[in-house]
């Protein structure tokens, strides 16, 4: 009986794959790939920094999609809300990882932990916005209330984040341009470095999927416990009255 575990055969296999991928990424990122000509070993931070923010964007995207599905769906299944919440939690964690690693990299490369650059600033706002989203999820009330409130908020965030990003970009910009995403730039990365970066994206994505599946099952159990707790309290009260 696996009732008291959040694992299934499928997620256990996925978890094993994640461990293998992460070990491979660590070896490739820390030992096998070469140092950067300009940045030296600090370039290795990139193998965590870039996949972390990639996963964060993916997570918030999933939150928005699940929230929209919940609000538009005829069934209004709470499962969509659980996926949205699980995904947002993991996204917040990965934005934090990305901010911390980026800050360390900045200290080594730019000589300062933080610069008031557009991308950094809007990423900080992204972080705070979803911390607020998670706070709203903990407001209490019924599951339906939680689902509706947080779904609407998640969709408002989709409106807010481009606006914040746009206004902060107008405010100032000096971030190093994206190296790979820029279509005009020839990718000038050593083959193994590029491979390690993509390996990182793949490994972190697998980690994200594994975490979301488990986290939403944990939320499901939490919701069930809360329901049963209420039922038990009602039953106790009935017993008292009967006596």
């Amino acid at each position: 009986m696996t009732e008291h575990s959040t694992g299934t055969p499928a997620t256990r296999r996925l978890g094993f794959v994640v461990i293998v991928l992460m070990s491979w990424l660590a070896l490739s990122g820390l030992w096998w790939s070469s140092e950067d000509v300009v940045q030296g070993s600090t370039v290795r931070i990139m193998y965590v920094h870039v996949p972390a923010i990639w996963v964060a964007y993916m997570a918030f995207g999933l939150t928005a999609v699940c929230s929209a599905t919940y609000l538009s769906g005829r069934t209004r299944s709470i499962a969509w809300d659980r996926f949205a919440g699980a995904s947002a939690e993991i996204g917040v964690m990965f934005v934090a990882v990305s901010l911390v690693t980026g800050s360390l990299w900045g200290r080594l490369t730019w000589g300062t932990y933080w610069v008031w650059d557009a991308r950094l600033t809007s990423t900080a706002f992204l972080f705070i916005t979803y911390v607020g989203y998670l706070a709203v999820r903990r407001l209490g009330g019924t599951l339906r209330q939680r689902a509706r409130r947080s779904s609407v908020l998640a969709l408002l965030a989709v409106l807010e984040i481009p606006l914040v990003h746009f206004s902060v970009t107008l405010w100032r910009s000096l971030h190093q341009d994206a190296t790979i995403a820029d279509p005009n730039a020839k990718v000038q990365m050593d083959g193994l470095m590029l491979f390690t970066l993509f390996l990182g994206l793949f490994a972190f994505t697998a980690l994200f999927v594994w975490m979301v599946l488990h986290r939403q099952r944990v939320i499901h159990l939490e919701d069930t416990v809360a329901d049963r707790g209420l039922d038990a309290a009602i039953a106790d009260r009935r017993d008292e009255v009967a006596k």
């Binding site: 607020g132 706070a135 709203v136 209490g140 409130r149 609407v152 408002l156 409106l159 206004s167 405010w171």
Partner: protein
């Protein structure tokens, strides 16, 4: 029609209780004086006056928004309106307009304070620009404040939650309104023409959140 009735009701409640006049406005003035204590230099104050005016506006707005929904929650007034079948978009619009009126009055007071205490001296063209900036920023803040105020209303711990939700969202207004007001006041050598693109940003913000609020307010308060 309904929106106007809701707005008139909110303003009547304020005129009766005078919470904004007797408590929020003095609070905003104290904030302006405290800024002067913290930045103890006339030159700096003149340079950063636009930013301080808008920061004080945002801090005051948090209090006003909470007040705007505290009156509703006290007697379950919002629920009564909903049960009566009032269109939530109309409630949203009405409460937004009432909030805008109160915010605009606060901003006039804050700009006047900046003139007196911080030694700001705008040109004639600058006055026009400052006025347009205040209108555009206030409309956006009114919509956003009502939307997130409605979200936080009816929940425990809303007093502490509202700033966390609202301040990141209004960051574009703080940036846009401060830059436009700097242009209007000529702070740091800015010219009046530099301000208009920022007013465009404020207008886009107001339109987007006006539309989003009309749609989203219903599901938020319908509990």
């Amino acid at each position: 029609m309904i929106a106007r009735a809701v707005a008139r009701k909110d303003l009547a409640v304020e005129l009766g209780s005078r919470v904004v006049i007797n408590q929020v406005a003095p609070f905003a003035l104290v904030v302006m004086v405290m800024f002067a204590f913290a930045l103890d230099n006339d030159g700096i104050l003149q340079r950063v006056a636009p930013g301080l005016v808008w920061l004080a506006t945002l801090f005051s707005m948090l209090v006003v928004v909470q007040r705007s929904f505290a009156v509703e929650a006290a007697d379950g007034a919002l629920d009564s309106l909903r049960v009566a079948g009032v269109d939530p978009a109309a409630i949203f619009l009405g409460k937004s307009v009432a909030l805008m009126v109160q915010l605009f009055a606060l901003e006039v007071l804050l700009v006047a304070t900046a003139l007196v205490l911080y030694g700001v001296e705008p040109s004639a063209a600058g006055w026009g620009e400052a006025f347009v900036t205040m209108v555009a920023a206030t409309v956006g803040l009114g919509f956003v404040g009502t939307l997130y105020g409605g979200l936080a209303a009816g929940a425990r711990g809303r007093e502490t939650l509202l700033p966390l939700l609202l301040l990141p969202v209004v960051a574009p207004v703080l940036i846009g309104a401060t830059r436009a007001t700097e242009a209007a006041f000529g702070s740091g050598g800015a010219t009046v023409s530099e301000g208009w693109p920022w007013i465009g940003l404020l207008a886009v913000f107001a339109v987007l959140f006006g539309a989003a609020g009309s749609v989203a307010f219903g599901p938020l308060v319908d509990e």
